[in-house]
Amino acid sequence: MAEQDKPKKGGIFQVFKDIVYGMSSHEMTRHAVRSRASMEHLFILITMGDLLGVPILPPYYSLRLLPYVTPQISTWKRRMLRERDITDTIG
């Protein structure tokens, strides 16, 4: 929207540049920004978990639970960092 208010500059070349950006990089930028936000959330969760009632488990006991979550560990890591998809919106 902000672009519309700006005085037009560069003519056809700028339009072409915008289209190329929109087709190629825009999605990647959005993805990067979202990943950054997810990581921010993860970071806050780890450091400030207590605020949400998620204190980080004392390590001695977290080990007891480890065998049960072993298969999920790598999926979980990916999930914490991934972009939200359409099912999240439905949920």
């Binding site: 204190p55 006991y61 480890l66 065998p67 560990i73």
Partner: protein, 323 residues
């Protein structure tokens, strides 16, 4: 009231703890106390929760990490080897993963997590904490005497119990709610049975362990906590502060033992000024202790002519402490 009266009037107080700053004689007094109780025909386990335990030194016998070692009739002593316990525990976890999934090797990512979790500073305390529960749950003895770590650690140990307990309660509740959703989903899908939640079982087990040990430490009926102090200004001030903190954690304080009191008989002879000054200093602070703690002081233990190691010395001290 004397230390002896406390034991005779309250035979239900079976968990005995000595606390105080480092180097004031907690180990000496707990060993002496354990020795006396054993001589009275009670089965006593004296154990150390201090990673730098000194029971081996006082009994002049290597007992570190060897389980409950008999010292005299009715008396056993134990020093918990936290490192070994952590190692065994790590291996147990690794084995469980291998058994559960039929791997022939623990995945690298998981293995490095196990290794790094064990390097956490709280790990050792937690391991000792857990070992104490094992010892006490068995219930083989009439008396359990804790040779406690210095005050800071002891407080940490107690506060940890509270934090853990609250944490586990929260997480267990969350897990139970998750179970409810599972059941709803199962009903919708017309499934007969929901799979048992093994994680919830583990959480409940952990909760039980933590509750057991913190309940023992703060059980007004069964636990007795004695503060050890010496007649010196800084120690008196620190003890007072610590006593307030302990009270906040609901630790039942049964009384105080004043250690290292220079014998009054010394005054009679011709003594150097240095020693005279020390005696005068102690007298001043003993006065302070009498006026502030009064009848909560259960014993004034004389400074012996040599350090307390070996059974004959312990016996002599027990004689002075209880008769």
């Amino acid at each position: 009231m004397s230390l002896r009266d406390v034991f005779e009037r309250h035979p239900e107080r079976r968990y005995i703890m000595f606390g105080g700053k480092g180097g004031l004689g907690k180990t000496t007094l707990s060993a002496t106390c354990a020795y006396w109780l054993a001589r009275q025909g009670k089965r006593v386990l004296l154990f150390s929760v201090d990673p730098q335990a000194s029971l081996s030194d006082i009994f002049q016998k290597d007992i570190f990490g060897k389980g409950a070692v008999p010292i005299i009739d009715n008396l056993w002593a134990q020093e918990i080897d936290a490192d070994k316990r952590i190692q065994d525990y790590q291996n147990e976890i690794r084995q469980k993963i291998l058994d559960m999934y039929g791997f022939d090797k623990v995945p690298e990512e998981i293995d490095s997590y196990i290794a790094s979790a064990s390097a956490e500073p709280a790990m050792e305390e937690s391991a000792i904490f857990d070992a104490v529960v094992d010892i006490i749950v068995k219930g083989d003895y009439d008396y359990y005497i804790y040779d406690l770590v210095p005050l800071g650690h002891a407080l940490y140990y107690l506060s940890m119990a509270k934090v853990y307990d609250e944490w586990i309660n929260k997480i267990t509740k969350l897990r139970e709610e998750m179970g409810q959703y599972d059941r709803v989903a199962a009903t919708l899908r017309r499934q007969e049975k929901v799979e048992e939640d093994k994680i919830l079982e583990e959480l409940q087990y952990i909760k039980h362990r933590i509750n057991t040990s913190s309940q023992i430490l703060t059980d007004k009926r069964r636990a007795a906590f004695f503060f050890v102090l010496v007649p010196e200004e800084m120690i008196i001030l620190d003890t007072r502060k610590a006593a307030e903190l302990f009270a906040r954690f609901d630790v039942p304080i049964s009384g105080y033992v004043v250690n290292r009191v220079l014998p009054q008989e010394l005054r009679a002879g011709k003594i150097p000024t240095y020693l005279k000054n020390r005696i005068n200093m102690q007298e001043k602070y003993l006065g302070d202790i009498r006026s502030t703690l009064g009848n909560q002081v259960l014993a004034y233990v004389p400074e012996m002519e040599r350090d307390i190691t070996g059974l004959p010395m312990i016996e002599r001290l027990a004689e002075k402490l209880f008769n």
